[in-house]
């Protein structure tokens, strides 16, 4: 999938800076993937395919876009990142560890009894987790209220909400989409992880959501569609979304399940991927090889 928008070409003076940003994000994305694989091994299965697919998006968000203080997750002026798709917890924890909000060593407790890192992300358990997602179709509505409230309070913080393409099935997502546009909430950036897969199979067969970009535009959003595994394209899209005024923005990210680990990317696509015990090290090795290339 190619980007349907043409981000502004950066000036030459900015090019070096931009290259540095992109490289920094790529490194962060690598560590997020590595964290996710380590967590996946703890449970032997899970939403590892989604985590690998969305890692570049989360790297851009946490390493480049989001304003936060790792030591103070409740800082009033922080940008909010809402994980509407609670089952992506493994990816969020991997990113929170990369962002320094939770210790990397804690990741090995993922999904275990009494861990702060439950299989579905919940605000009451984990620092830096803004909402309890998981019942899909909730995040954008809460984001709407946060954005309205922050604007009323004169707080310049932004609100990001990560949805999945499957979540576009939920009517409440579109209630919220209308609401954000009606209220002109340009402090909202929605992110849609288009991995084309949901619980019962490919999105195209479960409930057709395309044309997704047209839908968001028709709902009054500034919509950008990018290759969600292309860090440079993501950076440009998020920069544009942040600069846009007058309406909310959505960055629609076409991602590839298992991206960065050929063994898993090539596997028959499954919503909940099973990985054999001996395969985790192979996956880590493949990830490392990919970074070197």
């Amino acid at each position: 999938m190619t980007a349907s928008t043409s981000p502004a070409v950066p000036d030459t003076a900015d090019t070096a800076d931009r290259q540095q940003r992109i490289e920094q994000i790529r490194q962060a994305a690598h560590r997020i993937r590595r964290n996710a694989l380590d967590m996946g091994e703890v449970q032997g299965q899970g939403y590892i395919g989604q985590a690998l697919g969305v890692a570049d998006v989360l790297a851009v968000v946490y390493a480049d876009q989001l304003r936060f203080r790792p030591e103070d997750p409740h800082w009033a002026d922080r940008d909010r990142f809402l994980l509407s798709i609670g089952h992506y917890a493994i990816a969020l924890y991997a990113a929170l560890a990369e962002a320094g909000i939770i210790p990397v060593e804690e990741l090995e407790t993922y999904g275990s009894d009494d861990s702060r890192l439950p299989m579905s992300a919940m605000a009451s358990y984990t620092p830096g987790t803004e909402i309890s997602g998981g019942s899909l179709g909730h995040g954008l509505g809460v984001a709407t209220g946060m954005a309205l409230g922050l604007r009323l309070q004169g707080n310049p913080a932004r609100v990001y909400d990560l949805l999945s393409d499957g979540e576009l099935d939920e009517g409440s997502t579109w209630e919220a989409a209308m609401s954000c546009a009606h209220h002109g909430l340009d402090n909202v950036t929605a992110i849609v992880d288009m991995n084309a897969l949901q619980a019962d199979g490919p999105t195209t067969g479960v409930l057709r959501t395309e044309p997704v970009t047209d839908k968001w535009r028709a709902f009054g959003w500034h919509a950008l569609r990018v290759d969600g595994n292309d860090v440079a394209a993501l950076v440009d899209a998020f920069d544009e979304a942040r600069a846009h005024r007058g309406s909310p923005s959505v960055v629609i990210c076409d991602t590839r399940i298992g991206h960065g680990v050929p063994l898993l990317a090539a596997r028959e696509k499954a919503h909940f991927m099973r990985v054999e015990e001996h395969e985790w090290q192979i996956a880590r090795d493949q990830l490392q090889e990919g970074l070197a290339r």
Binding site: H138, G145, M146, L148, S179
Partner: protein, 352 residues
């Protein structure tokens, strides 16, 4: 069914429904005015409505504080989600719609966005129980049954304008989520005649009586007081325990009321399933108290459309119906000869 016989015409519009008796003292839009007064003191108070500001008395707040009112459209799910988001950033929202939509349509959002994180969001539901003649689409006859199972949630069913005016600041002061069964428009003013103050989580004995105790909530407390006055004329001494907070329930007050040999009648504007009657019954059973509970409540049915006075008579909520029910339970005899209200711990099954 058709009839050619001339009859008295009774009409009730869902939009202007008032259950006030003719000539009864009322107060206009007590919720909206109470919210305004509170908003003067607390800048973090905000209001939301789902295209029903005008019909939930929220318009009073909207007109006084337009910058703090958010019109969310006919979209109850995002309204409750957004209210949660506002509370997350430190505001104290009151979100109004009809009870049917707050509970049936948007329950997942009330439950997971608001109640699970324990946010100070106050959900205000109009047309609770049978307070509209519009039929099942608008009659929230099971809202308490739906919501009582929701952890963290405080549930208030006010009797009149006095209750509403005093409940609004109390609900905002409570740190967690609340649900208020709203009485709107011209709301009867009753409780100012009693030595009463609304206290969250507390029942109040409005009158004492040796023969019968009416344990009532919501607008049925008004009916209970009227019934008690009528029964007094027949030398039946009736106590009224008003229970405005359905959850958490004032179980101590209920157990105190039940631990006598009086006839215990519960009264609620709600289905007999999952509301006050079953709350009281389970309170007694869990405490090992064998007092029989006589429920005055709506039947487990989808109710008819029609005029409210007709429907309240038909379904047993009118004062006449309450008086008749109490008398029937007392056996139609003088109070001293009624059947025992407290049954043996292991009674033999009644046979016809």
């Amino acid at each position: 069914m058709t009839s050619t016989a001339p009859r008295k015409k009774l009409t009730t519009s869902a939009m202007i429904a008032s259950f006030a008796d003719p000539g009864q003292r009322t107060t206009s839009a007590p919720f909206g005015h109470a919210l305004n007064r509170l908003a003067e003191e607390r800048p973090e108070i905000v209001g939301l409505s789902a295209d029903l500001a005008k019909y939930t008395d929220m318009h009073v707040f909207r007109d006084a504080h337009p910058d703090r009112f958010f019109q969310m459209g006919m979209a109850e799910q995002v309204m409750l989600g957004a209210a949660a988001g506002m509370a997350e950033v430190g505001l104290v929202p009151f979100a109004s719609t009809y009870s049917v939509f707050a509970t049936r349509r948007a329950y997942d959002f009330l439950c997971l966005d608001i109640a699970e994180p324990g946010l100070n969001v106050n959900v205000v539901g109009a047309l609770p129980g049978l307070t509209t003649g519009y039929g099942p689409s608008h009659q929230a006859t099971e809202d308490l049954a739906i919501l009582r199972g929701c952890p963290n949630l405080t549930i208030v069913d006010p009797c009149d304008s006095v209750d509403i005016e005093q409940a609004v600041p109390a609900l905002a002061a409570a740190p967690g989520p609340t649900y208020l069964r709203l009485l709107r428009g011209a709301v009867p003013t009753v409780l100012d005649e009693y030595d009463y103050r609304f206290e969250l989580g507390k029942a109040a004995e409005l009158r004492t009586g040796r023969d019968v105790v009416l344990v009532s909530t919501g607008l049925m407390t008004m009916r209970a007081l009227q019934a008690a006055a009528r029964l007094e004329a027949d030398s039946v001494d009736v106590a009224v325990l008003h229970v405005p907070t359905i959850k958490p329930l004032d179980t101590e007050a209920i157990l105190r009321a039940a631990r006598t040999d009086r006839l215990l009648v519960t009264l609620e504007n709600h289905t007999v399933i999952g509301g006050l009657a079953e709350s009281v019954a389970s309170t007694l059973a869990f405490a090992g108290v064998g007092t029989r509970v006589v429920p005055v409540a709506l039947p487990d049915e989808f109710l008819a459309a029609g005029a409210l006075p007709t429907l309240h008579d038909r379904y047993g909520l009118s004062t006449d119906a309450v008086v008749a029910r109490v008398k029937a339970e007392l056996g139609g005899a003088a109070a001293g000869h009624r059947p025992p209200a407290v049954w043996p711990a292991d009674p033999a099954p009644a046979t016809a």
